[in-house]
Symmetry: C2
Subunit: 526 residues, 2 copies
């Protein structure tokens, strides 16, 4: 068999494999001709050995060099934008413009450049100095990191181009990237650009490595291997939970971004005030990129009554008449259908009635509805995720019913409230928000949850099962870097032996440190 080469220990080499796979073109559903290896454990083993050596060598590489690598890589991505967009469009069916070329590439490049800036200043490492007792601490690299990227963001969350990758590298860790099998070619191109940038900066061999696929068993073995320090995973709940168990049973860290329904509460006053606008925003959020976004509003809670009915009728029409984008895989379409059937068996009504046949991996926009009281009788089933262009409307009869709905929600990435601008919804907001907040990582007002800004204040995380640890965010530099670090304390350590960031003299005017309880960019005063 012939297949694309894997990137291990700084070299593109033939994989050790027994099977190959080829991705599909979601636009027409046809299989592409390029073949990629499903690596045997031998490849993982070699990558792990190389990563251990790379991590040791990285401890002698300056933060400036790591920053230079990230900047150089970002520039190469910009320069190869057209090829990346073409390939990703072919493999994922996502629109070239605006999505891939005008949104995701700039976001990816900006994220990597912010990671470079973070590596340069080291402010992300939160240096803390207790000058009286001469105890100093900071976050430092943790060791080899495995990154499992998702199918839906081939660039910004890609295993060798996204936030997990940039975060792990910025902290000084080597990355073993596991491509998502829906876009191996795109991932390979990123790995080529990354490896070129790594060579240019003379980073240790094995700082960036790429394996396309492996058996489930090898995946479990990888995340729990003694040589791995942590894993970043974005994807489905079953796969994520299996990896979580394997990793944690071995005492290994794993950061997960799993399913989320992102409930949106539209309060009565908001409906009165701007029904059409909210309906538009909701429908776009559910159907853009075929709704394949981790923060797609999978649940919307709409009051019973005339205005609510009007809203439902309007969004139903828009779902039916709106464009139908391709899903990322054949399985994705089947999954929506299977879960919609389960939800209907449990009592939900299918509102949309399209039965159009589509080319490729398309599935009609799907909208369902359920009464609040029926939702409450079987809330687990109604929280099964339809990852794609489908959503469930819950009709709530009262604030109390909405409180009960919230009480039955699982952990989510986001929770959103639409309220009117003149305060008539404020009472209800105050009665709902304190219950919703503990269930979500991000509370949003008056806009849909899709569109996760790369902001230093962002939280793209949340209570289990939205993520594995509610204290960390997967998006937002430099906060997301913290996941791939360990707290290191230097107690009575002589100054010439300290990391430069913890020395009395601040190595940079841009490095924030907490000295004796005060955040400052100054030196330690003697």
């Amino acid at each position: 068999m012939s297949a694309n080469k894997v990137l291990i220990n700084g070299e593109w080499r033939n994989a050790s494999f027994e099977a190959v796979f080829s991705p599909f073109s979601p636009q027409d559903g046809k299989q592409l001709t390029s073949e990629y290896p499903v690596s045997n454990w031998a490849d993982c083993d070699d990558a792990l050995n190389a990563a251990i050596k790379a991590h040791q060598a990285l401890s002698c590489v300056s933060r400036q060099t790591i920053a230079k690598f990230l900047d150089g890589y970002a520039n190469r991505i910009t320069a190869s934008c057209d090829r990346l967009v073409e390939l990703a469009h072919q493999e994922t069916g996502l629109a070239k413009s605006p999505r891939l070329a005008d949104v995701e590439i700039p976001r990816t490049v900006s994220q990597i450049k912010l990671a470079a800036e973070a590596a340069r200043t080291a402010s992300w490492s939160q240096p803390i100095i207790d000058s009286t007792s001469n105890i100093r601490s900071m976050l430092q690299s943790i060791g080899p990191v495995a990154v499992f990227g998702p199918n839906n963001f081939p660039f910004a969350f890609g295993s060798i181009s996204g936030s997990d990758f940039a975060s792990a590298i910025a902290a000084g860790n080597p990355v073993i990237a596991k491509a998502h099998p829906s876009h191996p070619g795109t991932t390979k191109l990123f790995a080529e650009l990354a490896q070129q940038a790594a060579e240019e900066c003379e980073l240790p061999k094995g700082t960036v490595q790429l394996i396309y696929a492996m058996s489930n068993d090898s995946g479990l073995k990888l995340v729990s291997d003694p040589r791995i320090a942590a894993t970043g995973f974005t994807g489905s709940r079953p796969a994520g939970l299996a990896l979580k168990k394997a990793a944690e049973d071995a005492g290994k860290l794993i950061y997960l971004e799993l399913s989320s329904l992102n409930p949106v509460f539209v309060l009565q006053g908001a409906l009165q005030e701007r029904l059409v606008q909210i309906a538009d925003e909701y429908v776009i959020s559910c159907t853009m990129a075929a709704g394949q976004l981790c923060t797609k509003p999978g649940l919307i809670i709409v009051p019973k009554g005339d205005k609510g009915d009007q809203f439902v009728s309007m969004v139903k029409d828009k779902f039916e008449s709106g464009p139908v984008a391709p899903l990322l895989s054949e399985g994705a379409a089947k999954n929506i259908k299977t879960i919609a059937d389960k939800i209907m068996s449990a009592g939900a009504t299918l509102l949309t009635s399209n039965t159009n046949e589509h080319s490729g991996f398309r599935c009609n926009n799907t909208l369902l509805s359920i009464n609040g009281s029926d939702f409450l009788r079987n809330s687990e089933i109604f929280q099964l995720e339809m990852f794609g262009n489908a959503s469930l409307i819950i009709r709530s009869g009262s604030t109390e019913e909405s409180q009960c709905i919230i009480a039955n929600l699982e952990g989510n990435l986001t929770g959103c409230f639409y309220t009117d601008t003149n305060g008539s919804d404020d009472d209800e907001y105050q009665q709902l928000e304190p219950f919703l907040r503990p269930k979500v990582g991000r509370i949003i007002n008056d806009k849909m949850p899709t569109g996760v800004a790369v902001s230093l204040a962002m939280n793209h995380g949340g209570p289990f099962p939205a993520s594995g640890h509610p204290g960390f965010t997967a998006v937002g530099m430099p906060s997301s870097i913290k996941r791939f670090s360990a707290l290191k304390c230097f107690d009575n350590v002589r100054e010439n032996r300290l990391p430069d960031v913890l020395a009395n003299k601040n190595p940079s005017p841009h490095t924030w440190r907490q000295i004796d309880g005060k955040w400052t960019t100054e030196d330690v005063s003697n």
Copy 2:
């Protein structure tokens, strides 16, 4: 049966129990007469329900009130110092002075007062404001926290008086304390003082709760219950790992402080320069409080050769002639003997030869020795923890051998180097420290690891299996509070709906916030 009452939902009430237990006096090994219940699940269930309500109510309690509670509680501890010391001395055998009265009480009181200060300023919550995109985030309370305290620090790590308790409360979480069965009376007295302080501040019922003991099954059920948010556990590795698995399989957080050997490397120059001083420090660190400290040096790496021989001979004499303090339980003494036997079977030599019979739970100070090459052949066995007045000397033949020893070490809380003052050890330090650092949470120079300062820069944590997550510290205000919090983001949330700490106006001149990348105590400029 009659037994002491448990504290559930704000009331001291009869426990639901089927068995009782009585603690022992380690000084003479006699069982005390007071009886404490081993609670049935019904007690845990009631406590969990009360904790959920308390957490909801706490969200409306001001940070100032929580701070007032912690201060009031600390003052009550100071006022009841004599009773606490008397009771703890009886139940643990730890010396009244200086240990309990002059070290542990002040440390405990200071720690709780620092937690009060942290609650007041909220700087621990790391408010981050992105004013351009109006995205703001901070750490907030997480929900009901279970705390399992250890046997060796009845005050400073106590389940209702220690760092876990103070940290969880400062973040706004209710605590279900599970007493350590070796000192239930001491824990009860703390709970009484805490409850009095809670009532004085009108904290919600169930903010502080106490259960003395429960079956292992109930313990596993408690940490994985849907109503619990996180657990703090300090204790033995087997118990900790069982709880870890139960909690994590249910998607629950658990912070563990488990076993640690705290390797100490004494380099050649340091031996030349101050052999006697280092020997003294080592012996005190191993035998003080019968060595029952999580940071006791359980491993010391000493160079082969004359100076090393002299050091070993001197510490052997000191172990033999030094005082023998009581251990906390009969099991502790047996455990040291069992592990020492295993280590000897694997090739270590017992250096100390005392065969004195002692009263109570005492065990002769025990010192063993092994060649570096023999250690490397069987490094797992030689890393079994002897929790108490026992330690293992490894004789290393070279820097390379020391590197190999490090490569075979498990994760530890601390790692220490003794080096000379004029630089002759610097080369070896540079060859060893980069390998030891990834294995420990705290690198120490020229002092023993015992004595964990409550410093804002402290790290009392480390890589697995020393702790469950290397990014967090169990000691050091306000850092330790972060463990019991969740990141909450407010995206486009109207200003009147924001937590005061995230509003444009800084609620306090002492609250540090990161605004647009800069740490400041100023307001957001408009």
